[in-house]
Amino acid sequence: MKTLLIAVLAALAGSVHAADKPVVLAGADLYTVSHGVIPRGELLIEGGKIAALGAKVDAPAGAERIDLSGKRIYPGYLAANSNMGLTEVDAVRATVDQAEVGAVNPNARALVAVDADSELLPVARANGVLSVLVVPQAGDDGLLTGQSALIKLDGWTWEEMSLKEPVGVHLAWPSTRVPPWLPREAQEKAAEAAKKKLGEIDQAFRDARAYRAAKGAGKKDLRWEAMIPVLDGKTPLFVHADNAVQIREALEFSRREQLRIVLVGGVDAWRFADTLKARDVPVILGSSHNLPLRRWEAYDTIYANAGKLAKAGVRFAIANDAQGSSNERNLPYQAASYAAFGLGAENALRAITLSPAEILGVADRLGSLDAGKDATLFVANGDALEDATQVERAWIQGREVNMANKQTRLYEKYQRKYEGKPRD
């Protein structure tokens, strides 16, 4: 109930800042994602929403008309696995709030630690990343890491930025995978640690079920309280698992516990494509910009992952590895590498817009250029999946956002130096 209230408040807060005046974006190719490309089309923004789009739209009187001929308009990217806002400088502990201590923290809320003034946010936004799933990370011992929140990269506070919370409870599946060249002691310790962690997961779910069965008869336990929506199937469990052993165990676990899960990471997911399809387990893939796990695997094993999932009909999105918020802006290029090796550009674009919106349950508001959805979109001077392309303007819920950021400011400052101007 409380969380619902927050969501409502957040939605209201968003609308306060939406531009009141209708705007028509005209002349650009509209990459709708949901229904193809509308060449040299028009898109009407009104009340924070996409009011209409097509070859021509009926603009209300007084609507501002922006000529974007030669440009392209895309729905904003949705980065579906990020630590954005929870960390500023990775090496400086005081600026890092991403992993709570201990193994079982399903009650921890990422949303309340999002620094709305992080310098990292405007940098991501400047390349079209407009919505971000902020995910609590696993510390050394972390298993149930907490609750994620979907935010837009606009707002004075995390409350204003919030789009949906909680989106899911996150579980970092333990791994026994240790390079064979590590000391034997390390191998043994890792195996023992993973075994212990598996026991802890089982125990946590048993305890949570016991708590639910007691129906609040005893004292409150924040941890198990947070697990009730997961056990009820109302909130999905996001299981972070990359290698084949982890994925197998996670799938066994979710079947045993009758849970609705989303697989996150999924480096080896293609090896389970048919199972994932059959059980309708959606996948949020990690970055393509990783090396194959194993020496004997083909150089493009990771690049080809998404294409294989697509071919098998698995629902999936493409995201980052949640440790790289400073370069969340490179999300489209991670999608592009998947695109080049079997996924195709169109599918790749969908996997960072509409598909994550569907998996996170916000496809009614985000992910494509469709009438009635939030006017969260950006303008680029070319194919947005290409590194060379520049993102020029962006709107979040109908409000045009400033594309300047720390980096552009430094760029301009030092251009002034070489123009012989004095330091400001």
Binding site: D140, P179, A193, P292, Y299, R329, A388, Q390, Y411
Partner: protein, 1055 residues
């Protein structure tokens, strides 16, 4: 002592039962003593003749029914003659006599190393030399003066264990340190008096690449550091020699310090003492051989079981090898998901390992076999050696590897290895099929004329048909004893019963009914001699009965016949082994690509519908309608883009066991080139991304790191084959947080420098020291006083002479400026690496002519990258700086093309300008732009054919060429994947049964293995493995790894 009771006549062959006692024959001590006699003198005659034995005098020379005569522990003769009249005769009919076996690699008879002194630096402290007692080397891993013979402590129990395997002499080799000390040849007699057992002291000097490991921080902490320390120490030895000679002539000269370590290295350096050099993996051979060649060492390679992979190299070097028999356990393939983590090279090694010795033998490489490395030699040694023989190792070679070969390589061929007159009487009495049958036994060993029984030869073999006479009971008149020792069974009619034999007794356990008594079973113990059996028993507690018998028909064990030689696992030899290895280098092929878009990155710019011609590894023409070179392959380039091979100016790929020698602040003596790993799969993976050259840099853990190595991606070549010929040498320097240890943890606060102030000063001080070194070298001619060759300063001196170029890791503008001013002062022109704030001082860089090689868009992960901006490259380029983008990552290195495109996005450069960031500008920054970086006639034919613009994020290379040779082809790659899958399935299928069996056995008894010294594993709070662990233990990573990212700047370590 000569008694007929010891005579055992043919054909009754004796059998062996383990008795494990020293025999009573040949009591004379074989040495002439210097010690005074206490009590009565012992003067047992020492003339002994072993008769009627099959004598294997040496491999390939056999005397059937021979006589071996020894006197006082020395062999007098071995032939078919009769025994001297006064000799004690021992009949060994049916037995084979070999020369005693020699193990060239053991730790036998050594006292445990004294515990390190209490002053050992605690965890994570900065370098401080551990003082060694005496006038020794400053580095505690350099202790060549250690002489095992001085500390021998014979161990009777261990000696017996080794004797049971047939060993009579072993090399006791020191096993700690880099220069480990000198070994001793020790006989395995039971005397605990070192004087009795020492055969030869100071046999060899022992070397190994031993590193200090995290968290210890003592020099060296990397393979390249270990090599540098070895080189410096050998040069110091030479210098000490010369300096002392000079000093002798100049009586007023300053006295040179004493140094026992250098004294001890004179002999190996003069070729008077062999150097037994331990290796850990197949890449070490080349490293050891290079050191051997540099210092003209008389090398013996300490093998590691992978010799079959490098047999040609070893053969060409003419160096003998000590080969272990430790075969890998069956890899963990029982769980399909976990089996994914076992690589093909590892699966292949499981199949090849038993063939190792055979491959060496067939190649003509001299080798000795050692039991070292076996966890349970008493179970594994003969089983594994026989496995080698079953895998086709000729038995004569196997014998030689235990006798003549070790004796020869250890300089003891005059004493050991054969049964020839004059050799020490060290012999093994065994069955003829010792090398091929698990049923064959060793009966006894003789050391210095003294007999040590392993199994009794005095008890005749009872197998055969016996006629028995019973008195007092009605037993069977005839029984037949059969079976394999020691599990014998007797048959009487349709009944059978157990029999045991030993200690000159034959015990029968017939059921009562067989002898007509009312008892379940009874025991009849008979005395067994060559003449028959005789004995008695008692029934009902009163009635006595007698038995006697004769062996009517003897049926002794028949030796196994030699088996046919199996085929080798494969006739194909790839390099590297396993996945994606090449059978041969790709052929040099003249070719012409036509009608392609050609990104020349040279004066011709970007050409549409153009051709490029390649001959003899060089580009011969670029343009429209070029003439095809002779025999050129024509490639249709329509729709394709041809672009220069990408050059990565900052990489840590293909470096084994440490990219940082982070122990000292200045380590300019270490060389990345000494630690190349040509098996690193990254080389192949980056080829698939169009990258053809890279600079492999030392890390950034210290202000002055090590010498870099520029390579070409000649996947399939060895370390030497990767080197970019004649590339100007470079070196890594570093500034900022890494060198001042800001992010290393709270304990790293003591090593100088800890501030950017100190960094500037240590660079200045080192430059000045190098200048003084250079001046001293110049003056050397005048005084004649030999100047110590200092590899550390010599390298820096090369920088000052502009023979070597600095690549300096840098972030903030203050430190960049500070080094720029130092560079100006010393007249050097560096390339700044990373240089994230270069845009703030681009004017300074341009004026200095310094290059800039940076990341595109990494930022925010630590404080000094807070102001990093992706416009950096473009801003610097616009100020006239030669700017390039690099990877510092084995992952990013395979898509640098798209990184270049970011210079268009961030800074509005043109396509050609942007692509220069990873081609021409990168070549200029490495000063190899005369050879590579653009597609121009006369340059190396290093290029890739792309299916789209190389600046596109959707492009992929279809073919990549180096020196005109096609090192990557996507179609070939697809075929190779299929081969890998097939091979994996075949091998896993073959391994599964053995693995399942091994697992069942493991469940039985939880065997805790001890791997010896355990590096301290940091781990997470609960024992899980962290990224930091991977980085800390990267020095453990040998060849054939998965390419896990351990050597990158983003790993928050110092690179």
């Amino acid at each position: 002592m000569r008694r007929t009771m010891l005579r055992i006549h043919r054909p009754a062959a004796a059998l062996g039962v383990l008795v494990g006692l020293a025999g009573s024959i040949g009591g004379a001590l074989a040495q002439v003593d210097t010690a005074p006699v206490e009590g009565l003198r012992e003067n047992t005659p020492g003339l002994i003749a072993l008769r009627h034995a099959r004598l294997v005098v040496k491999p390939g020379q056999v005397v059937e029914d021979g006589t071996l005569v020894m006197r006082d522990g020395v062999i007098v003769s071995a032939g078919s003659g009769a025994a001297p009249a006064d000799a004690l005769e021992i009949d060994l009919a049916g037995k084979t006599v070999f020369a005693g076996f020699v193990d060239a690699q053991t730790d036998y008879a050594q006292v445990a190393d004294p515990a390190p002194p209490a002053s050992q630096p605690p965890i994570a402290m900065p370098f401080s030399p551990t003082p060694q007692q005496g006038a020794r080397h400053w580095n505690s891993k350099v202790r060549p003066e250690r002489d095992v013979a001085q500390q021998l402590k014979p161990d009777a129990k261990k000696a017996e264990t080794l004797r049971k395997l047939g060993f009579t002499t072993v090399l006791s080799a020191p096993d700690k340190g880099i220069f480990r000390g000198q070994s001793a040849l020790v006989a395995l007699g039971e005397s605990t008096r070192a004087n009795d057992v020492l055969i030869k002291p100071q046999v060899a000097q022992h070397l190994a690449f031993e590193l200090s490991r995290f968290p210890a921080n003592e020099y060296p902490g990397s393979l390249m550091g270990a090599i540098a320390l070895m080189r410096q120490t050998f040069y110091d030895t030479r210098w000490q020699h010369d300096r002392l000679a000079w000093q002798a002539k100049h009586r007023d000269a300053e006295r040179l310090e004493a140094n026992l370590a250098l004294d001890a290295l004179e002999a190996p350096l003069a070729g008077r003492q062999p150097v037994l050099f331990a290796t850990e993996d197949e890449l070490d051979y080349a490293r050891v051989l290079a050191l051997g060649a540099e210092f003209k060492l008389k090398l013996i390679l300490g093998g590691n079981g992978y010799e079959y992979r490098e047999v040609a190299r070893i053969k060409n070097a003419g160096v003998p090898v000590v080969v272990p028999l430790a075969y890998p356990e069956a890899p963990a393939v029982e769980d399909p998901e976990r089996a994914l983590d076992v690589g093909l090279a590892e699966l292949e090694h499981w199949e090849w390992a038993p063939f190792n010795a055979r491959v060496l033998a067939e190649a003509g490489v001299p080798f000795a076999i050692t039991s070292a490395g076996l966890k349970k030699p008493e179970e594994q040694f003969w089983a594994n050696l026989r496995k080698a023989v079953a895998s086709g190792l000729d038995e004569q070679f196997a014998l030689a590897a235990l006798t003549v070969q070790p004796a020869t390589m250890l300089g003891a061929a005059d004493k050991l290895g054969t049964l020839e007159p004059g050799k020490l009487a060290q012999i093994v009495v065994a069955d003829a099929d010792l090398f091929r049958s698990d049923k064959a036994r060793i009966y006894e060993t003789w050391i210095d004329g003294k007999r040590y029984a392993v199994a009794s030869v005095d008890t005749p073999d009872p197998r055969g048909v016996w006629n028995l006479t019973w008195r007092g009971v009605n037993g069977p008149a005839s029984i037949e004893i059969g079976g394999d020792l020691p599990d014998l069974t007797a048959k009487a009619g349709d009944k059978s019963f157990p029999v045991s034999v030993g200690d000159r007794r034959l015990s029968l356990y017939p059921p009562g009914e067989l002898v007509g008594v009312k008892r379940e079973r009874l025991a009849v113990v008979l005395s067994l001699t060559a003449d028959g059996v005789e004995g008695r028993g008692q029934i009902d507690g009163a009635r006595e009965f007698q038995v006697s018998g004769k062996l009517a028909t003897a049926k002794p064990r028949v030796a196994d016949a030699a088996k046919a030689k199996p085929a080798l696992p494969s006739r194909e030899r790839r390099y590297p082994y396993g996945e994606f290895g090449r059978l041969a280098p790709p052929p040099a092929q003249n070719l012409v690509v036509r009608h392609a878009t050609i990104w020349t990155q040279g004066p011709q710019g970007k050409l549409e519908d153009a051709d490029i011609a390649v001959a003899n590894g060089k580009i011969v023409a670029v343009g429209k309608g070029v003439k095809a070179p002779a025999g050129a392959v024509e490639i249709d380039g329509r729709g394709k883009h041809v672009a220069p091979g990408i050059i990565d100016t900052h990489s840590h790929m293909a470096v084994a066991k440490g990219v940082n020698e982070g122990s000292h602040a200045v380590t300019s003596e270490v060389r990345i080139g000494d630690a190349l790993d040509p098996t690193d799969i990254s080389i192949y993976r980056v080829l698939a991304g169009g990258t053809t050259s890279a600079q492999l840099l030392h890390g950034s853990a210290n202000p002055i790191g090590g010498q870099s190595q520029i390579i070409k991606m000649r996947w399939g070549a060895d370390a030497d084959g990767l080197r970019f010929e004649n590339a100007p040498p470079t070196i890594k320097f570093a500034l900022g947080e890494n060198v001042k240890q800001s992010n290393w943890g709270d304990t790293f606060t003591k090593r100088y420098p800890q501030t950017r102030m100190g960094v500037e000063q240590i660079d200045l001080d080192t430059f000045l020291a190098a200048q003084e070194y250079g001046e001293a070298l110049a003056k050397q001619g005048k005084s004649g006083e030999p100047v110590r060759r200092d590899l550390r300063l010599e390298t820096v001196w090369e920088i000052l002479q502009k023979k070597r170029f600095v690549h300096i890791h840098s972030y903030r503008q203050d430190e960049i400026l500070a080094f720029a001013r130092l560079a100006q002062r010393f007249g050097i022109v560096p390339v700044f690496q990373h240089i994230l704030e270069g845009y703030k001082v681009a004017d300074v860089l341009a004026k200095l002519g310094a290059g800039a090689s940076g990341f595109t868009d990494w930022w925010a992960y630590k404080m000094e990258v807070a102001d990093a901006i992706p416009y950096n490259g473009a801003l610097m380029a616009k100020q006239g700086v030669v700017a390039s983008f690099n990877s510092d990552s084995d992952e990013l290195s395979r898509r640098l093309n798209t990184e270049a495109a970011k210079a268009i996005k961030y800074g509005d450069l043109s396509e050609v300008e942007a692509f220069n960031f990873v081609t021409m500008n990168a070549a200029k920054n490495l000063r190899i732009d005369q050879r590579v970086g653009s597609l121009e006639a006369g340059k190396d034919a290093d290029f890739a054919i792309w299916n789209a613009s190389p600046l596109s994020s959707l492009a992929m290379p279809e073919q990549t060429y180096v020196d005109g040779r096609k090192y990557f082809d996507r179609n070939d790659d697809l075929a190779e994947r299929a081969r890998i899958e097939t091979e994996r399935e075949r091998l896993i299928g073959k391994i599964l049964p053995e693995r399942v069996k091994a697992l069942a056995k493991k469940d039985d008894k939880k065997d805790k293995k001890d791997d010896g010294a355990k590096p301290q594993f940091a781990g997470s709070h609960d024992g899980g493995v962290t990224t930091a662990d991977l980085v800390h233990f990267a020095t453990l990573r040998g060849p054939y790894h998965d390419g896990e990212p351990v050597n990158t700047c983003s790993a928050q370590e110092a690179h």
